[in-house]
Amino acid sequence: MTDNDTHDRVETDGGTASPAQAHQQTDYLNEEVNLLKPSTAFMRDHLRVVWTSFVIWALIVFGPVTLTAVAPGPMTQTMPLLGFPLHYFLVAFGAPTGALILAAVYARKRDALDEKYGIDHTTPEAGGDAGGDAGDATATDGGVEQ
C-alpha cells in the first residue's frame, strides 16, 4: 500500500507543498484509479478512511452473529435492565445503529478531507452554469501551467 514508485510525481509534490497545492497540481483525469494502489494524495487519504470504516463495519455487522455461533452460551445471556438476550440486542439494535453512526462519521471525515484539500462544494452551481468550467480547470491544471 505504501510503495508508490510508479507515481512518485505526486508524492514528491505532496512532500513539499500543502495538500491544497498538491491538489491544484494534480490532473485527476490522468491518474489511474486503483483501489489497492491509490495514485493521488487525495485518493490515498480517502481510501484510508474508506477501508478503516469498512473493517469496523464488517466487525459490527458480522461479529455478533459469528460470536453467537462460536460461543452460544455467553452470547445468549440476558442483559441486565433491558431484558434482551445479548446476541439479539447486538444484532437487532447494535448492528443497524452502528452502521448509521459509521455512516455519519464517514461523511464528516470526507468533508474534513475536502477542507484539507481546499475543495469547496458550494460553488459548483456557478460552475454548472458555465458548463465546461470544471472540466477546463482539471485539464489545464496538469498540462499547460507546468
Binding site: 489511474e32 455487522v61 452473529v65 455461533a69 433491558l82 439479539y88 439494535f93 445503529t97 460553488t123
Partner: protein, 535 residues
C-alpha cells in the same frame, strides 16, 4: 376501516398535486433522505419484516441487518461516484461504462427479473391486507388490487406513485409508528421507547423467538444478510435518488439521513413483532410455545400481516387498525407502480429500441411499454396466489439477484478502470445463470411437475448441495465473489478499455466539484484534446 382507507388515498392524492415541493431545483439532504426512505418502504419493510421476525425469530434479524447496514457500503463506495458518473439506471450505467448494447440488454433483463420477483411480494402484501380489511378471499383480492394498479399505470403511462416522496415517507412512518406506540402503550408493554422496551417481554415469549439458529443455520443467516447488503448497493431505485441532489456532498449526506429515516421503521419492527407474538398467544388463549408449534400455530399469512393483526388484537378502534393497514397497502402499491415503470422502460427502451428495432417510433415504444406492464402484471398476480415464501423472503430473492449481477458491475465499473466490456458480459452472464439456476433448483420443483419428479418430491431441491450453499435467498454470498473473479479474469486476458472510458472512471473519483447537470462523460469529452495519453 374502509373510510380510513379512503382518507389515506385522498391525502396521497393531495400530496401528489402539491406543486411547492417540485424536484429538480436541488433538493436538500433531509428531504432527499426522506425520499430514499419512501422508495425503500415497500410491503417487505412495512409488513414483511415484522412477519419474518415474528415467525423466524433470530433469522428474521438477518433481514433487519441486511436492509439497513448495506447503506453504509453504498455510501463509502458508490453514492458520490454514481452521482458524478451521471447515469442512474442499471442499463444506462452499464451501457455507457462498458460501451456495449449487449451489456445494456443483460442489465435490462436483470432489472426486469428484479421488478417481477420484487412485485410478487408486494402483490402478496396487497392481497393479505385487502383480504383482512375487505373480507374477500385472497385470490380475488390480489386480482382486484393488481388490476387497479396495472390498469391505472397502463392507461395513464405516468408514474402512479406520488411525485412527492417526502410526504409519502411521512405518512407511512407515522402510520407504522402510531401502530407500534398505540399497541405498546395500550397493552402496557412500553411507554416512550418501545424500540428498547420490548426487551422486557423476552422472558414471556417462547424461546423460539430469540434462540439463535433455530429457523436457519449460521451459513444461511450470513448468506441472507450478505445478499441483502450487496443487493441494496445494486438496486437502481436507490441510486436514482442521487439524481436530484445539488452535489456529491449532498448525495453523501442524503444517504446518511436516508439510512436514519429507514431505521425509524427498522428499530420499531421487531418490537411490533414481539407485541404481536405475545398478543397472538393471549388472544387465542394458547401457551407462548404453541404460537410456533401445534394446531393453533401462527400461519405464514398471519405472520405477514402481524403488524395489522397486533393492532387489532390490542382492541384499538377500527379506524385506527384501518390506518395501519392502509399504510401497508400504500407502501405496496407505490412500490409496485415504481417497479412496473422500471420494467416497462427496461423492455421498451433498453431492449426493444436499442436491440430489436433501432428505428422504433415513440408510439411503438409506448405500446411496448404498456404491453410489458400488462404482461408482467398478469404474471405477478398469478405467482402471488401461491408464493413460495413469505413477503420479506420473496423480496429478498430480488436482492440476491441485484447483489450477484448488478453490484459487481457498479463496483468494478467505478473502482477498477480496466474492467472492460468482455469482462462485464462474462460476469453478468455468470451471475444470471447462477441465480436462475438456484431458483430452478430450489423453488420451481414446488410448482413444475416434471422438476418435482426429478427432485424426488415437490418440496425437494434437484441438487441438494447446490440448494444448501446457493439458496435463492442467499445466492450472493457465493455469487458476488464469483462474478467479481470472472469479470476480473476476463478483463485481464482481453484488451483494456479505451482511454476515454478510463478517464470517465477517473472523473468519478476526482475531488474536483462538478455542476449539477454534468456527467463524467461530458467532462471527459470536453477535456479530451489537451491531456497527453500516458497509458
Amino acid at each position: 376501516m374502509m373510510a380510513s382507507f379512503l382518507v389515506i388515498g385522498y391525502v396521497f392524492k393531495v400530496a401528489d398535486t402539491e406543486g411547492m415541493w417540485v424536484a429538480g431545483r436541488g433538493i436538500g439532504n433531509i428531504e432527499n433522505g426522506m425520499a430514499i426512505g419512501a422508495n425503500w418502504m415497500s410491503a417487505a419493510s412495512y409488513l414483511g419484516l415484522a412477519g419474518l421476525v415474528a415467525l423466524s425469530g433470530f433469522y428474521g434479524l438477518a433481514f433487519i441487518v441486511g436492509w439497513t447496514t448495506g447503506y453504509f457500503v453504498l455510501l463509502i463506495f458508490l453514492a458520490a461516484q454514481m452521482r458524478r458518473f451521471g447515469k442512474y439506471t442499471a442499463p444506462d450505467f452499464v451501457a455507457d461504462r462498458f460501451n456495449s448494447p449487449m451489456a445494456r440488454a443483460l442489465a435490462a433483463f436483470t432489472t426486469l427479473l428484479i421488478a417481477y420477483v420484487y412485485s410478487v411480494g408486494q402483490a402478496r402484501g396487497m392481497g393479505l391486507v385487502g383480504q383482512y380489511v375487505f373480507g374477500l378471499d385472497i385470490i380475488p383480492m390480489i386480482v382486484v388490487m393488481m388490476t387497479i394498479t396495472v390498469g391505472y399505470l397502463a392507461l395513464s403511462g405516468m408514474l402512479g406513485a406520488t411525485k412527492n416522496m417526502a410526504v409519502q415517507y411521512v405518512i407511512l412512518i407515522v402510520a407504522f409508528l402510531a401502530g407500534v406506540y398505540a399497541v405498546g402503550f395500550s397493552q402496557g408493554y412500553s411507554t416512550i421507547l418501545p424500540q428498547i422496551e420490548y426487551g422486557a417481554l423476552f422472558s414471556e415469549l417462547s424461546r423460539q423467538f430469540s434462540e439463535p439458529f433455530q429457523a436457519s443455520s449460521y451459513y444461511l443467516w450470513v448468506a441472507t444478510a450478505f445478499s441483502l447488503i450487496f443487493g441494496t448497493c445494486g438496486l437502481p431505485h436507490v441510486l436514482v435518488r442521487f439524481y436530484t441532489v445539488q452535489n456529491e456532498r449532498t448525495a453523501r449526506w442524503s444517504t446518511v439521513s436516508g439510512l436514519f429515516f429507514i431505521m425509524l421503521l427498522y428499530w420499531a419492527a421487531p418490537a411490533m413483532a414481539a407485541f404481536g407474538v405475545d398478543l397472538f398467544a393471549v388472544v387465542n388463549n394458547i401457551s407462548p410455545d404453541a404460537v410456533y408449534n401445534g394446531e393453533q400455530a401462527m400461519s405464514g399469512a398471519e405472520g405477514d400481516v402481524i403488524v395489522v393483526l397486533a393492532a387489532q388484537f390490542a382492541n384499538l378502534p377500527t379506524w385506527f387498525v384501518g390506518l395501519v393497514a392502509a399504510g401497508g397497502m400504500a407502501a405496496a402499491i407505490a412500490t409496485t407502480a415504481g417497479l412496473f415503470i422500471t420494467a416497462s422502460s427496461a423492455v421498451a427502451h433498453d431492449i426493444y429500441s436499442e436491440l430489436i428495432n433501432p428505428d422504433a417510433t415513440q408510439r411503438q415504444q409506448v405500446l411496448i411499454g404498456r404491453a410489458t406492464i400488462v404482461v408482467v402484471g398478469a404474471l405477478v398476480t398469478v405467482t402471488a396466489f401461491n408464493p413460495p415464501a413469505l413477503i420479506g423472503e420473496l423480496v429478498a430473492y430480488a436482492f440476491s439477484l441485484a447483489g450477484t449481477v448488478l453490484f459487481p458491475m457498479f463496483f468494478l465499473g467505478l473502482w477498477w478502470e480496466n474492467t472492460n466490456r468482455q469482462g462485464a458480459l462474462a460476469g453478468m452472464t455468470t451471475g444470471l445463470l447462477l441465480w436462475i439456476g438456484s431458483v430452478v433448483n430450489s423453488v420451481l420443483p414446488a410448482y413444475v411437475g416434471f422438476l418435482a419428479d426429478i427432485a424426488g418430491g415437490p418440496g425437494q431441491a434437484i441438487v441438494p448441495i447446490y440448494a444448501q450453499y446457493v439458496p435463492p435467498i442467499g445466492a450472493a454470498l457465493v455469487g458476488t465473489p464469483l462474478v467479481f473473479l470472472v469479470t476480473i479474469a476476463v478483463s485481464l486476458v482481453t484488451p483494456e478499455p479505451p482511454l476515454e472510458t478510463k478517464k470517465m472512471v477517473r472523473q468519478c473519483h476526482s475531488p474536483e466539484p462538478m455542476g449539477q447537470q454534468q456527467t463524467a462523460e461530458e467532462i471527459v469529452s470536453n477535456s479530451g484534446g489537451e491531456t497527453p495519453a500516458d497509458d
